[in-house]
Amino acid sequence: MNEFYPLVYTFHFYLFGLVALAAAIVFVTRKSPVAAALWLVVVMTSLAALYVMLDAEFVAVIQVLVYAGAIMVVFLFIVMLLNLGTLSELGEIRGKWGRIAAALVGLALVAELAALSRAAYSLRVTVPARSGPEAIAETGGVIGSIAAPMFRDYLLAFELTSVLLLVAIIGSVVLARKRSEHDAG
């Protein structure tokens, strides 16, 4: 796609990038948690589109299934479960000094990350691009090219992740369980 329609590719890349950025700004300024969660779904779906354009189709599918699907449903479920009350007491934003401090931290961070991005961009010139459709086809297709390093080089990390998920399951059940009176001690 990149080679055949460079203009279309660039247009859609910027389109989805701007949609993600705009939706993120709208997300962070919403008072209602439900509206914020739905805008975050827009951000995540746009990012999935960007993943497809960056030759990471499997990550894009997982992004839609796990992030935009499962995790955001859990968030909305919690909002529904807690019955948080009226909007006026919900949409609280920190006072003046908190906002100024956050703006300063944000400006410093964006300057720092922009400098890092420039450094990475100049780095790219020296490293040959190994990805793209041909390289992926050589290494065993879209999923095979991820599965091979995951189950060879990073097998220990993969197994540790399964332990982490088990701990998270048990931990969330223990934390969210309703304690009865004689059980509390």
Binding site: T10, F13, G17, L21, I25, F27, V28, P33, A36, L40, V43, M44, L47, Y51, L54, A56, F58, V59, I62, Y67, I71, V74, I78, L82, L90, G91, E92, I93, R94, G98, R99, A102, V105, G106, L109, V110, L113, A114, S117, R118, A120, Y121, R124, A129, R130, S131, S145, I146, P149, Y154, T161, L164, L165, A168, I169, G171, S172, V173, L175, A176
Partner: protein, 97 residues
């Protein structure tokens, strides 16, 4: 597209950080953390294009950890809500001296 991806990733990460610092609703603070993890994932995927697919593997690991973090974090929010009947971080100051 590497430079554009990294710039977008930086912008999304910064929006997440500012959201964590500014918002007082614990659930929205959690969603801002998810946004930051997403921004990091975008960097991973964009760099994986130039440096091999290991970055995509790491993006999937980040998603797994994010799922675990969301489950435990929301369970903690439920437990706190049972005690103080609010998710406003202004009222959750048990550890403040």
């Amino acid at each position: 597209m590497l430079a554009e991806s990294l710039a977008l990733s930086a912008a999304l990460f910064t929006i997440g950080v500012v959201g964590v610092l500014v918002r007082r609703n614990a659930i929205i603070v959690f969603m801002c953390v998810e946004l930051m993890l997403n921004a990091v994932n975008l960097s991973f995927v964009a760099l994986a294009r130039a440096h091999g697919t290991a970055g995509q593997v790491f993006a999937i690991f980040v998603m797994t950890v994010a799922a675990a973090e969301a489950a435990v974090g929301l369970a903690i929010i439920i437990a706190i809500f049972r005690h103080v009947r609010t998710v406003n971080l202004k009222n959750i100051n048990l550890l403040r001296g």
